[in-house]
């Protein structure tokens, strides 16, 4: 006995294009509605800037046909606060305070980019210890940033538990970073010439203790979120960015490596202590959201591996080079890039010999990731939109600058 709700009484009614309604009798506009008369209207949905799943003040204008996304327009600028313009009015060792607030979850990378640019222009020799301290802070910060991404990415799928565990581990890192730099988020630690302070006494024990527990915790995190079948069902095969598309949209970082492209600034354009460390670059293959998830989880593991080497092998010496209080780099132009938590953060610095930059351009990886979002979302269901935005790990502070 077949289900009457799914039984087609008139053959061909449900088959698209085969149903001919015929000429209606006089006085009736058209024949009783058949399935192919039920045209769906396109509807524009506004998502953001206040939305829990947009990771900041991102606004998406989504045109949907039923539940399927037809087009999406990314609207940014709700956090445009002029980091590039204000940097033209700041001295070189004060730009770090602005850069911290650009990519505010992993501030140390932006600072390092500025410091590297100024050092290369002025040809300052940075002490080896300063380079190691910078890398140490950067890798700690990378884990903290990825944990925020991990927690909120899970929130987008409806999970709450992994957020609490991720925040627990993040607090442990922030305690260490606070002891090293003096602040929880806005470090202003890496300055042109080195770092602002030496390691406090006894911090290496804390860092070792953290590293010992973190590997186990990371397995737990992965089991909690990545081992969940619902989560896998929602991210596998979603939002595929292959290598061609990643090149076309200028993606960097985990979004590029998720497509299997082996490019990490730390390996290919080495800076600080990275050439001396032993680590691997995690790579994906298909370039879907699951691959990007796995790459970031792998990066956290590699960061922990690097931190262990860094804390064991910190060289003796000064933590900063002898630099004048007011830096006046010679007139010139330089581009310095670092691998931040989100991709390649670059600083294009133009100087005219004065004590402030003539122009500073901040290359933010997130703005390129958002262009890819505009391209990959159409064709997916509306519920998958948040998954794709989450999997690219965009940060609106650096998008708008």
């Amino acid at each position: 006995m077949s289900d009457p709700r799914t039984t087609v009484t008139t053959p061909g009614l449900l088959a698209e294009g085969t149903h001919d309604p015929g000429t209606p009798p006089a006085g009736i506009k058209r024949a009783p509605t058949g399935v192919d008369h039920l045209a769906t209207e396109h509807l524009v949905i506004n998502m953001g800037p206040q939305h829990p799943s947009t990771h900041g003040v991102l606004r998406l204008l989504i045109e949907v046909d039923g539940e399927e996304v037809v087009t999406v327009e990314v609207s940014v600028g709700y956090l445009h606060r002029g980091i590039e313009k204000l940097a033209e009015h700041r001295r070189f060792n004060a730009i770090g305070t602005l850069m911290d607030r650009g990519d505010y979850v992993s501030g140390i990378h932006g600072e390092t980019a500025v410091a590297l640019a100024v050092e290369r222009l002025m040809e300052i020799e940075v002490p080896r210890k300063a380079q190691w301290l910078r890398s140490l802070a950067a890798e700690l910060n990378r884990i903290a940033s990825h944990l925020v991404w991990f927690g909120t990415f899970g929130l987008d799928t409806g999970g709450m538990g992994q957020f609490l565990y991720a925040m627990r581990d993040r607090e442990a890192i922030l305690d260490i970073l606070e002891a090293i730099t003096g602040q929880r988020m806005m470090f202003n630690y890496a300055r042109p010439g080195g770092v602002v302070a030496d390691l406090p006494v006894g911090i290496d024990e804390k860092i070792r203790a953290f590293c010992d527990t973190f590997d186990t915790y990371l397995d737990e995190h992965h089991a909690l979120l990545g081992g969940n079948e619902i989560f896998q069902g929602r991210v596998k095969g979603i939002g595929i960015i292959d290598a061609e598309k990643a090149f076309a949209f200028g993606l960097t970082g985990a979004n590029l490596r998720g497509a299997g492209v082996d490019f990490d600034v730390r390996k290919k354009r080495p800076y600080d202590a990275y050439p001396e460390l032993d680590w691997e670059v995690p790579l994906g293959s298909a370039g879907d959201a699951w691959d990007r998830y796995m790459v970031r989880m792998g990066e956290m593991r590699q960061s922990a591996r690097m931190i262990r080497q860094l804390i064991d092998g910190i060289p003796e010496g000064e933590h900063t080079a002898k630099v004048p209080k007011v830096l006046r780099p010679p007139a010139g132009e330089i581009y310095a890039c670092v691998e931040s938590s989100r991709g390649e953060t670059g600083i294009h610095l133009v100087t005219d010999g004065g004590d402030t930059p003539y122009r500073m351009h901040y290359r933010a990886p997130s703005i390129f990731a958002l262009q890819a979002v505009e391209d990959i979302v159409p064709g997916h269901l509306i519920a998958d939109t948040v998954m794709m935005v989450g999997s690219t790990d965009v940060m609106l502070g650096e998008t708008d600058r």
Partner: protein, 166 residues
């Protein structure tokens, strides 16, 4: 205010309705999950995380402005954002309170010189509590909620005192 600690079993409490509502309100200040910038990580995410755990004070986040009592303006408000902030404020049911978190929301902070930045969210919505810091620690946000409680209760006390004098 734990009433059961002040009173014994089977006791009858006389209280003015305004004060009763105040007790209810001040112990369930739900804030809107509306992070603008850096402060959102400290004031909204760390705050609901396991270490600071604002839930135990009855402070909990709601995703919709229509269910929220408090708006924490956590970040720099610029000209494009100002309209949205005002609209969200108007969507919140009364009584409603605003906490300006951090230097940016209070005065414009490190970005105050940029012509696109609004110098303090008090130019857009009325602010009840300002929190200094860039960004303030989550403890400061907890303190701000305690101050907000005092402020809410003091308002009723003042009104009652004025009525008594009449």
């Amino acid at each position: 205010m734990a009433l059961d600690r002040l009173t014994g079993d089977n006791s009858i409490v006389f209280i003015r309705s305004e004060q009763l509502f105040d007790i209810a309100r001040t112990n369930s200040l739900w804030y809107m999950a509306f992070g603008i910038a850096c402060c959102a990580i400290e004031g909204l995410m760390s705050a609901s995380g396991p270490r600071f755990d604002f839930d135990r004070m009855g402070v909990f986040f709601r995703n919709s402005p229509r269910q929220a009592d408090v708006m924490i303006v956590a970040g720099t408000v610029n000209l494009k954002m100002a309209e949205t902030v005002r609209r969200l404020y108007e969507q919140m049911p009364e009584p409603r309170w605003v906490v300006a978190m951090g230097a940016c929301a209070s005065t414009g902070g490190p970005f105050r010189e940029y012509p696109n930045v609004v110098m303090g969210v008090d130019k857009v919505v009325p602010v009840d509590v300002y929190i200094p810091g860039c960004p303030p620690r989550p403890e400061s946000v907890q303190y701000a909620f305690l101050e907000l409680r005092k402020k809410i209760r003091a308002k009723t006390e003042d009104r009652l005192a004025a009525r008594r004098q009449k």
